[in-house]
Amino acid sequence: MSENHQHLTNEQVKDIDENIAWAKINNDVLNSMKNPRKGYWVALVLSALLFGVMIYAEVYQYRNGMGETLLNTSHMWDLYISSFVFWIGMSHSGTLLSAILHLVHADWRKPIYRFAEAMTTFSLLTAGLFPVIHLGRVWNFYWVMPYMSDRGIWPNFRSPLIWDAFAITSYLTSSVLFLYIGMIPDLAICRDNTTGWRKTLYTFLSLGWRGDDRQWRHFRFTYLMIACFLIPLAVSVHSIVSMDFAMAIMPGWHVTTFPPYFVAGALYSGCAAIITLFVLLRYFFKFEEYMTMPILDKVCKLTFVIAMVWTYLNLIEFSAVWYGHDIPSKEVLIAKATGPYSIFFWGMMFFGSVLPFSLLSKAVRRNMKIMFFISIFLNVGMFLERWMIVTPTLSMGYHPQGFNVMWPGWVEWAMVGGSFGWFGLLFLVFVKVFPCVSMYEVKEMVYHRKRTTYADVDEMMELHSGVPGPEAQTQQSGGA
């Protein structure tokens, strides 16, 4: 019996209220797809404009040459590749939430994994723009695909960039499949509750889902199989992307810890992005009942753990270089910390390793506004990390002739900004056409929570509020 007890509400303790009616869930989610407010259209137009800037920059670059990006003989890669890695990283959020947490039966993921999966798919679509954009001869990009050309020439399978192409294509295909399959019951609900073009669309997409027992059994099995398949794929995708650097011989790139480091960074930025979108969707669509505080709490804790893993891998990379004999690598490390890019390096360290400690505070975790900004800054830190991987190594290297400091020009910034526009465009369209909260899964969660007692929750409830726990209540009211 503590004297300083807080009066905790249900909302603050439970992941979800078990008494939500099915119809309410349906209505809340279906309403979120209707009647876009003015703000929505503004956001859509802005995203489209941003994307238009990207198109303009690409046409400009296409016509005048890659030199307009201010890339040069030393810095052959810059923001395009950083953004590419960044967007691939963001894509791991969905996989983490939908697939990994599914396997460990963490059902608190159920209200939030749908938009996370969507984010995965759209991040991949955005990331896929960059390997094409950064090519000198963009119009020949399809040569990286293994097809029967009449020249009899295949791509070079030894190149990490080809592995990228395969990995991302497989991952994108699998993610789209996973997203779609997981949505089928929801699409059926939408089909049954809408009219007009939507009904036609959902009828087509829901593949005749009737919701009978056989279908559910097949569905559950398929879903599980794809989840199992997707997890190693996700890990391998970002490991392969890391090999773009790890397989190079450049100092600062040729690091064996890059695959786990990149995967950790990907999960990190994915989680941060989930938090951002969580706050936004909860606010705009009034999903307080589904995207609850305890769920956010859990996501924040997860983010913190991943941040620590990332920090650890970062620090061992530095120590390996520091205590090693590879002088050029050491020079790159010192240049990162003290050279012309040092402000961004320390920014990365601060946003990536110091800022997550704010997540230890419950007050912070439960404050929507603060979490929104913190999650954005965490992602800024991760973007800086990607840039810190690419640029300082290229500004130095083995040969002093190559030492050169380069800052990106407007063309690169236009492309990077435009990619956010493209992502925004896709996501905004998604939330109005498809249910961004998984209705059937939320129903499952409510159902299971009702049927399950959490002894520790009961104890906490009794302890702090003097209100008898649910079991007692159930016994009182004689069943739900």
Binding site: G65, L71, P131, P155, P160, G397, Y398
Partner: protein
């Protein structure tokens, strides 16, 4: 099935033998170079000859400042003298060191495996070839080159570099590269192919001295020697042998410490094929 396994083992044994002999192919020739830094005066004749021979575009001051120039052969000039005692810290009393640097045609080139479309590969003459037609411009190869000798066509430099009638002076033996394509020193492959054809036409083998690269031909001090390492009678293989530098290893064991031959960045295990002879300074 048996032949598949057999191929695997044969391939492995070829590969491991090739590593010892510097390369994993059966080479018909192994073109390499030696540059005597004691003779090189840093005059730039080789660099300009390369521009003339290989249709290199000059880019002008702005693009040069942005480091988007195309000098396949560049002469680097250093002022520090780490091993040679300089007696006056306020002066450069040991002169300067000049280093002609171009593609080292590494036998284990780090640029080759990373090209997504196999636009750069190792030929049977042990040259690192760059296929302009195939290059899509991903620039991974340039990132992986420790010497930074790969140059990317960031622009279509041709219209400014060869305004009519300057384009009449273009060498028709090789192409003018458009934007988006990587390029680098090829050891004057057009001259190598031309010499091959001449030899074939005359019904004989290539002999030492048939192929003269543009830089070698114009170097006034004859600091550059070029030839086929697999030809034991060639001058270049004699130089490599005299300098006791072997392919296939980065730990050269020399009996005579005075030998001046060395390769740059050979500790990266990339097997560069340009041998440099150390500059000498009397102190």
């Amino acid at each position: 099935m048996p032949s598949l396994l057999g191929n695997v083992f044969k391939g492995w044994s070829d590969y491991s033998k090739g590593i010892e002999q510097g390369g994993n192919q059966k080479y018909e020739h192994m073109f390499s170079m030696s540059i005597d830094l004691d003779k090189c005066t840093g005059c730039n004749a080789c660099s300009t000859a390369c521009y003339a021979e290989n249709n290199l575009a000059w880019v002008g001051e702005y693009k040069f400042a942005s480091r988007q120039s195309m000098h396949w052969m560049r002469i680097e000039r250093y002022f520090d003298e780490p091993d040679v005692g300089s007696s006056d810290p306020e002066s450069l009393d040991r002169g300067a060191s000049f280093l002609p640097m171009m593609c080292q045609q590494c036998n284990a080139a780090p640029c080759e495996p990373v090209c997504p479309v196999a636009a750069t590969y190792h030929t049977v003459d042990a040259l690192n070839a760059q296929v302009y037609n195939r290059c899509i411009g991903s620039r991974y190869c340039a990132n992986n080159c420790p010497f930074r000798v790969r140059y990317f066509n960031f622009y279509d430099n041709a219209p400014t570099a060869w305004p009519a009638p300057m384009d009449q002076g273009l060498n028709p033996d090789l192409s003018v590269r458009s934007k988006g394509v990587m390029e680098k020193c090829t050891f004057c492959i057009q001259r190598i192919r031309g010499a091959n054809e001449t030899a074939k036409r005359e019904g004989r083998e290539l002999k030492d001295g048939d192929i003269v690269t543009a830089c070698q031909q114009t170097c006034p001090t004859s600091a550059i020697v070029f030839g086929d390492l697999l030809d034991k009678t060639s001058e270049i293989s004699k130089i490599w042998k005299r300098q006791q530098v072997k392919l296939g290893t980065y730990k050269q064991e020399k009996e005579n410490k005075d030998l001046r031959g060395y390769r740059i960045f050979e500790e990266l295990n990339i097997e560069p094929k340009v041998l440099y002879l150390e500059r000498v300074r009397e102190v």
